[in-house]
Symmetry: C2
Subunit: 345 residues, 2 copies
């Protein structure tokens, strides 16, 4: 269990990562998580335009509020990239600035194809002299083996079907997915005589019990998204955060769908991906067969209402969250969340 804590020397076991949530996981959240012995992630997502600024902001927070024990050759933070949309060349420029150490990890997700994943892994390793570890998120055994073959990641993030936001429609819960991936990848590495990567569990984990389950299943740690939506440091509208706190019975109240992608106009995801979130009137209307243009008009009107667009029977705004949303019952500081889910008081 000490592997990842040795590799990232500010991290305590089990490793608790804040997932890179696009537009939501900024420098303050990432810093709070890392400062509590977790692994904070920034979210570049599909657009790296703000990444340079985010890294500078992180560095600036770090200079006044150091993360204990981190080594100086990398920043104690990771960055998440959505490969089908992000610009690799621009990313490599940002990660190889001579005045700034590179992030400790790049979390790669949703490539258009395997060769794109290969280019990203090789490009980042070259640009950072392998100081930046390659984390790749997968959601099936087939994904995991293909990823091993093209990218030899340092860490596999195994994403179960319960995850909020984007993931594959065809997936399983961690309770079966994680051990099967570990067995298959370990056998593959044994055959190829290469090192077995570390495994981080993601999807539906909201509290210390979920983290304990992930460890029992063979992971070195867990990545949490939904739980950090309810952190003081998340960049999130109050209406969205309140909706997360209110939601319960996550298997019934959330669904993986492309309805919100379509309504928001972010419909460039590769085949097979959908976003899990709390259902509301937008989803009900789409399922009820309402005309798409009419539904979009109502969505835009809800958007213009601000926080009220998430409230009541007529709530229409996108509320991405995993099935663990019912275990998220209050807003807390991200450092406190990190310690609590790791099992500390």
């Amino acid at each position: 269990m000490s592997g990842l804590a040795n590799r990232y020397n500010w991290v305590k076991s089990p490793l608790i990562a804040s997932a890179p949530m696009r537009l939501i996981s900024g420098p303050a959240l990432a810093h709070a998580v890392s400062s509590a012995g977790g692994f904070g992630f920034l979210a570049a997502g599909v657009d790296v335009t703000n990444l340079s600024q985010d890294l500078q902001t992180f560095k600036s927070i770090l200079s006044t509020s150091p993360v204990p024990n981190y080594s100086l050759d990398v920043l104690p933070v990771g960055v998440g990239f959505i490969l089908w949309g992000a610009d690799l060349q621009h990313t490599l420029q940002i990660l190889s600035q001579p005045d700034t150490p590179p992030p400790a990890a790049a979390w790669l997700f949703a490539p258009s194809n395997p060769s794109q994943l290969k280019s990203w892994a090789e490009g980042i390793r070259t640009a950072t002299e392998s100081k930046t570890d390659i984390w790749v998120q997968v959601s099936s055994v087939a994904d995991a083996i293909e990823t091993m073959a093209v990218a030899s990641p340092d860490v596999l993030v195994v994403q179960g079907c319960d995850a909020g936001g984007h993931g594959r429609y065809q997936s399983a819960g961690l309770i079966s997915l994680l051990p099967e991936v570990i067995d298959a990848v370990s056998a593959y590495c044994d055959k190829k005589d290469i090192p077995v990567p570390f495994f981080i569990a993601a999807g539906g984990i909201s509290d210390v019990r979920g983290v304990g389950a992930a460890v029992a299943l063979g992971a070195e740690g867990a990545a949490l998204g939904t739980r950090y939506l309810a952190s003081e440091e998340a960049i999130i509208k109050k209406g969205y955060q309140d909706a997360v706190i209110r939601a319960s019975d996550g298997g019934v109240s959330t669904v993986r769908t492309d309805v919100y992608d379509k309504l928001r106009g972010t419909a460039n995801w590769p085949e097979g991906y959908g976003g899990r979130g709390v259902t509301n009137k937008s989803y009900e209307d789409a399922m009820g067969g309402k005309d798409f243009e009419e539904n979009t008009k109502l969505y835009k009107a809800a958007e213009a209402m601000g926080d009220a667009g998430w409230e009541g029977e007529e709530a229409r705004m996108t509320t991405y969250a995993g099935t663990g949303v019912g275990l998220v019952t209050k807003v807390m500081g991200a450092a406190q969340i990190t310690r609590e889910v790791r099992g500390e008081k």
Copy 2:
């Protein structure tokens, strides 16, 4: 952790139950599981016609091969009932035979409505002088609270979305579902000043790691179905069993659907239930829009082929299994499975 092992004195912790799989879980399987310190279940399912005979057979095996430590006032076995189809009055007659102790538990699933669940729980308690514990299978927080209100079960079996065979389409994986159900039911019991039931986890658990995860999430034990499909004692066609052994990547290779119910003519399930199984040509053809009568004809033809109906590209036979199917790699004795998943050598 010793609660259920005290209640069922032949059982070791954590409790390992073989799920009541209709037509598959017979007396030999149930006896092998209980004899290894687990909790074996017979499957009455929707039709109790054979239940009396199954209980007699179980008793007869028991007389020559006793289960260690069981008390004489109940049989060390449970029976599973699918409430929308099973006959309550006939069941009560069978369970109150003066010459045979009643089973230690009745596992109730899929009532047509809450009042039916109430009638079953009350009827069985009266007929067996509460010797037969009431287990109820639920798959959401709402289900669990309603069940507490109408049936006050001794045990809640919490079924995650990864479960094979029938379950609700709207559910979550155990990693989020189980802790949320435990919190909500515990709060309910506290408010009503009634005892908290025991919790058993089901759905996607195939090995000792899954059982460990269930315990970390707060369960006293786990129920396994798919794993026992690959037991020597299961009443199962070799073609089906071989298909289970072959299948991998359960989140991708299985799906919850009503296609096989329709093809088999068992389409009386209440709204909202589907059966998870390994997909094959029947499913692909249904999704591809093939005429239902034509698909049924092909299904019947596959059925007539026996084991070959499960083989190759043209496999069409129903292959219910959970997402944990990829962790099931060989046929073993049910007693050995029970000990292995409990963590013994």
